[in-house]
């Protein structure tokens, strides 16, 4: 059982000028979670759901410092007075980012890690790993190099590690953020198995559709407080309008309408001819003999993990020398060097493409035209940033901005580069409803500017917000490509949700 009594928490952070800043985490939390209950925490960004998770697994107050009042009890232990080492025997945690939560390089070692730390008998652990691998159907993931796994597989390994230890409580903080629909389905099945085992489960999430049938209770957070509580009956009666109003993502994907109307024929195309490329390890490759994508709209590139979407994007961008084939665009035939001058990519990890010490500099860095002088560059930078509501940050260091603001900075740099093709790699990972819509509107603005926009994404709701065309990739080849409207939306649905009610193995 988990009990919160009059809990308040404020994070203490130090700002750039050395002064302290207290940010409210949660306020007035009085909550009791029964054994075996499945609770979903949701709400917009910064609403307090992550803070609540941290209060359960002990990261607050043992790792994140701040002002904590009230009492948190987990399985009879006072969290404040119990070291995390002891708490972790009873509380397992799964985090948002698959890339940064594993300690070992080998998957089997990682699965054994939590149990090893609890000083379980090694032979016993090895047996447990065997049984867990069978139970969760992850035998193929044993004894592998974690760096070779996809994000979804990494998350599954993290879950397996918890299953080996088998604590009575499991907390998850936005576990589906970086996962595609297949992986989310697998995750959902694991959660169901845990629920059937009687574990108490608390999940903080934006993407709710896979939890709808599992949740016993859903708590809606706003500004650190629990605004509303829904029981399982109320959850099932929430409509799309309700969730829109509450600011959370849809509970049922099938209800989401298509915003795109049927279009007149497209005018201009981007054409790939004899596009062939393969990495040295021969693992990922693309073979596209002839593909035309409309160039005056937004195209979504979808595909399962390892299908070749990123490979394709990198090659379109001109990042690979050894790519054979040409791209025809606006009347020009382009090899990889020309494509480098025409494409700008907004990467999945925006931190990798911000290099300067101010947002203004960052935008001006992209202006590689040597005929413009410094003053002109600055004027244009201001103009671009104004359009994206970033002008107040002109002198701010990009790393001091929030994730969304950094992404907009990268977009601004893209516009400043005057490159006509913009490619986005998973721009809405981990975003709540409001921010996802914000990104969608920025993309539509880019379309108005006349840019060709390609987006690698698996965010169904996002695709329906702003994409006109869909390109489906499988095994490095084009499986299908179609304009998106009321008629073709079924094709998209079939890809995203192949089995409406999934049964069988994970």
């Amino acid at each position: 059982m988990i009990e919160f009594s009059n809990v308040n928490f404020e994070y203490r952070t130090t700002k750039a000028d050395g002064t302290n800043d207290d940010i409210i985490g949660v306020k007035n939390i009085n909550l009791r979670i029964r054994d075996g209950e499945f609770v979903v925490l949701t709400g917009g960004s910064g609403c307090g759901k992550t803070t609540l998770v941290r209060l359960i697994n002990g990261l607050i107050p043992h790792f994140y410092t701040g002002k904590l009042t009230g009492e948190v009890m987990v399985e009879g232990m006072h969290v404040k007075d119990t070291p995390i080492y002891e708490l972790s025997e009873h509380v397992g945690s799964v985090f948002q980012n698959p890339k940064t939560q594993f300690f070992n390089v080998n998957t089997t070692d990682e699965m054994a890690f939590a149990a090893e730390n609890q000083r379980r008998d090694p032979e016993h652990i090895v047996k447990l790993i065997e049984t867990t691998a069978g139970f969760l159907n992850v035998r193929k993931l044993l004894d592998r190099n974690i760096f070779e796994l996809s994000g979804g597989e990494k998350q599954i390994v993290a879950c397996a590690g918890i299953a080996v230890l088998s604590p009575s409580v499991v907390v998850l903080d936005e576990p589906s953020s970086n996962l595609d629909h297949d992986a989310i389905t697998r995750l959902g099945k694991i959660l169901k198995k845990w629920k059937d085992e009687g574990k108490t489960i608390v999940v903080a999430e934006h993407r709710l559709f896979y939890l709808k049938d599992l949740a016993d209770r859903m708590l809606l957070f706003r500004n650190g407080e629990i605004e509303h509580e829904y029981d399982s009956r109320e959850i099932s009666t929430l409509t799309l309008d309700d969730t829109e109003r509450l600011g959370i993502r849809p509970l049922s994907l099938l209800e989401v309408p298509c915003k795109q109307k049927e279009k007149d024929a497209f005018i201009d195309y981007l054409r790939l001819e004899n596009f062939d490329f393969s990495y040295k390890d021969k693992k990922h490759s693309i073979h596209i003999s002839d593909l035309s994508v409309p160039s005056d709209c937004v195209t979504a590139i979808i595909g399962h993990n390892g299908a070749g979407k990123s490979t394709l994007a990198r090659n379109i961008c001109g990042l690979e020398k050894h790519c054979r084939g040409t791209m025809e665009y606006h009347g020009r035939r382009m090899k990889y060097k020309d494509r480098l001058h025409s494409c700008y990519m907004i990467m999945q990890d925006v931190n990798h493409q911000l290099f300067t010490e101010s947002v203004g500099d960052e935008v001006m860095l992209s202006m590689t035209d040597k005929t413009i002088d410094e003053d002109e560059k600055e004027k244009r930078a201001h103009a671009i940033l104004r359009e994206l509501d970033l002008d107040i940050f002109f002198e701010t260091h990009p790393m001091a901005l929030s994730g969304g603001q950094k992404q907009r900075t990268a977009i601004a740099s893209g516009i400043a580069s005057s490159k006509p093709i913009l490619i986005f790699d998973e721009p809405t990972s981990g975003l709540d409803l409001y921010h996802m819509k914000q990104v969608a509107s920025e993309i539509l603005k880019l379309k108005e500017l006349g840019k060709t926009v390609l987006i690698i994404t698996h965010d169904y709701e996002f695709i329906l917000q702003c994409c006109d065309y869909v390109l489906e990739i499988e095994d490095g080849q084009v499986r299908d490509s179609y304009p998106l409207d009321d008629h073709t939306i079924d094709k998209l649905r079939r890809f995203i949700m192949p089995k409406v009610k999934g049964e069988g193995n994970v």
Partner: protein
């Protein structure tokens, strides 16, 4: 030595040691080109000093730099460098610890000095090299030219070259420290990460 180490400290040691080592190693690989090999003790610390400075700002108590130096010694050893590396690494590590402690873990200036003293570990790499080829060269010379000539050469070469190496390490460490401080101010302080 207080052992008030928390997991956060140990993980910080781990990641920054990895980064520092990676930068040093990459620069050292460039040093395989004979011309660069001689100035490696200068160039290595210049570049490696930058992440080193960031590391120092994360250090708030005794012992972390020492662990880094031990780890580097072990790594170098399994890569084939003979045992003097341990002496130099741990020595450089200890001196740097004392420097940082003197600055109460809050002074950038002390961090820069720390960068100077820490780079002395490179001498451990260089010194074995030194003794090694010296022996080989003179041993064969003795066969050809006679013992007297050899003794003359032996007394002549080592001293100045060795001092030159020490100087290169110190200067390189100093430049690296200053560069690191500049980068910290330009980026990290501005972004509020220091």
């Amino acid at each position: 030595m207080e052992k008030g180490f928390e997991i956060k400290d140990l993980i910080t040691v781990g990641v920054f040691t990895a980064l520092y080592f990676a930068v040093t190693f990459i620069v050292a690989c460039l040093g395989f080109i004979p011309i660069f090999m001689a100035v490696m003790p200068l160039i290595g610390p210049i570049f490696a000093g930058i992440p080193l400075m960031l590391y120092f700002t994360k250090i708030k108590h005794f012992g972390m730099v020492l662990i880094t130096s031990v780890i580097i010694a072990v790594l170098m050893f399994i890569m084939g460098h003979p045992y003097p590396i341990f002496i130099f690494c741990i020595g450089a590590g200890l001196i740097t610890e004392l420097v940082l402690r003197a600055g109460k873990y809050e002074s950038i200036k002390h961090c820069i000095v720390g960068s100077v003293t820490f780079s002395l570990w490179l001498l451990g790499m260089v010194i074995a090299f030194f003794f090694g080829f010296r022996e080989a060269y003179f041993a064969s010379l003795a066969d050809g030219y006679g013992q007297e000539y050899v003794e003359q050469m032996m007394s002549y070469t080592p001293a100045w070259m060795f001092y030159a190496m020490i100087l290169m390490c110190l200067v390189g460490g100093g430049i690296g420290g200053l560069l690191g401080a500049k980068v910290l101010k330009k980026h990290f302080r501005k972004a509020g990460m220091v």
